[in-house]
């Protein structure tokens, strides 16, 4: 038995070493994928019922058309099987490139690999995949930096003390923990700030509203709520308004217009803008440059979030930040 395990391990190790060597060889030669041959760019994103993902399709299409491409947009609705179908359609369509906000870090590897094997370059936006070397770019908002940045503002708004609750996103989602950990990286340095409730509201507004109602009844002493995204923050804010609790300091993350409206009204402390419009434009530009022969310097690229509070909220509209 032991021998068998060792054998498997040795084979696996050899496999990894070989792949490593082959990949190093690949980078040195810097051979670029040719694209499928047509002039079509596929933009595949989660459901556009969320304005964040809608922005990806709208901004991506505009940029690609400006650069002379034909554009086809699809939503995979966070279903990896559906996503794979769209990737296969792109291959059949001889797409020049694919811009994708993927349906899962592990589940999407297969689709991206298929495109790669068909010579079609994929440029990932917003979410990473757990594989390097098969997508040309992975451009994501720095969620860790964004969470820490808005947590700093929240700690100030709380005047460094008090009890608070946290609404987590979908617990299977990487970003749920990246955001939560980085909120706490800032907040937990103050022993005067105490978390008395932590629940998941699964990124959902209605669920956040209901959970907040329940938390306010069980823990009326709280003066703050930190939320993993703006959708939940807006649900929590509305629940606080309806309960007559205008003393509660709330933050979210995304930079949605709905959150911006609450921030303007002083009902929310702030949010961190993921510059998704800028990220999408970068991806389309990099696709265009790549097809013309220049690959981006790095595959994984982080774009800073911008902490949004009442001081600068007027600069925010439709996920675009414009300094006025």
């Amino acid at each position: 038995m032991r021998k068998l395990v060792l054998g498997i391990m040795a084979t696996a190790l050899a496999g990894c070493l070989f792949t490593g060597a082959a990949m190093a060889d690949e980078t040195e030669k810097a051979e670029l994928l040719p694209g499928g041959g047509s002039n079509i760019i596929y933009i595949i994103t989660p459901s556009t019922s969320n304005p964040f993902f809608n922005t990806e399709q709208v901004v991506g299409s505009a940029k690609a058309e400006e650069l002379g491409y034909e554009v086809k947009c699809f939503s995979h609705d966070d279903d990896a099987a559906k996503q794979l179908e769209y990737f296969e359609a792109a291959i059949t369509d001889k797409a020049a490139a694919i811009i994708c906000d993927n349906a899962g870090a592990d589940a999407s590897v297969e689709a991206v690999q298929k495109a790669y094997d068909a010579g079609i370059p994929t440029f990932l936006i917003d979410r990473e995949i757990n594989e390097s070397g098969i997508a040309i770019s992975q451009i994501v908002a720095d969620n860790a930096q964004g969470a820490a940045a808005i947590a700093e503002k929240w700690v100030e708004a709380m005047d460094y003390e008090g009890k608070y609750a946290e609404l987590l996103g979908l617990e299977s989602d990487t970003n749920c923990w990246v955001r939560s950990e980085n909120y706490h990286a800032v907040i937990d340095e103050y022993d005067t700030l105490e978390m008395v409730a932590q629940q998941s509201a699964n990124w959902d507004q209605t669920e956040a509203y209901e959970k907040t109602e329940a938390i306010l009844q069980a823990n009326p002493e709280i003066t703050g709520i930190i939320c993993g995204n703006d959708t939940m923050a807006c649900g929590a804010t509305q629940a606080c308004i309806d309960a007559g609790r205008d003393d509660i300091k709330i933050i979210g993350l995304d930079g949605s217009d709905e959150a911006a409206a609450y921030i303007k009204d002083g009902k929310m402390v702030g949010t961190a803008l993921q510059q998704i419009a800028a990220i999408t434009e970068m991806a389309v530009e990099q696709a265009d440059e790549y097809l013309k022969g220049t690959a981006p310097e790095q595959e994984k690229q982080l774009v800073d979030c911008i902490a949004i509070t009442e001081e600068n909220v007027d600069n925010l509209s439709a996920f675009v930040y414009t300094e006025k």
């Binding site: 696996a12 496999g15 990894c16 792949t19 700690v155 340095e189 103050y190």
Partner: protein, 192 residues
Amino acid sequence: MKRKLLLMLAGVMTALCVTGCVKIIDKGTEGQYTGETEFDAASNSGGDWEKVVAEITENAVDLSGQAEEGIDKVCAVSASGKVKEYESKANGKKNALILEVEGCDDTVKVQIGSIYSGTDVRDIQTIKNFESFTNQTEWSQYAKALNAQVDSQVVAPLSIDDSVVGKTVTLVGAASASGGEITITPVSMTIE
């Protein structure tokens, strides 16, 4: 042709890697199997600190010469000025010095801990970049670890208290500006 064969072979073996055997490993014991121990930002930053200080010192621009242009991005600065105010927040855990820097109209604030905000020190160094780390969280822990070095190597040895007001501070650090205020995280500092 040979390369293609190699690639194919590698592909098959990787597939074996992925699908060949599955073993559930208890959280926290991965290192025993992979040889990869848990990411330790502190030990990771310790070895870099001197290089980071050297790089920031070399790139530092005199803040007093930046009065007209201001600073729009995070940058390395050197500055010297009289302490106007010793600012203390969060029951003395978040402190700062407000400096009077000649030729600089903005409020100049020097973070002196023990809690530090931001990632400026990390962001202006080039010893390590995001690709040196596995993910965003490690990258962000690295920033925190560098800030911890700021505290232990630069600030704590000076034992600063409110008697510092009126004295002259000379420093090099990472600076960023927001709303008419320049915040500096020092990487070297003297007080006279």
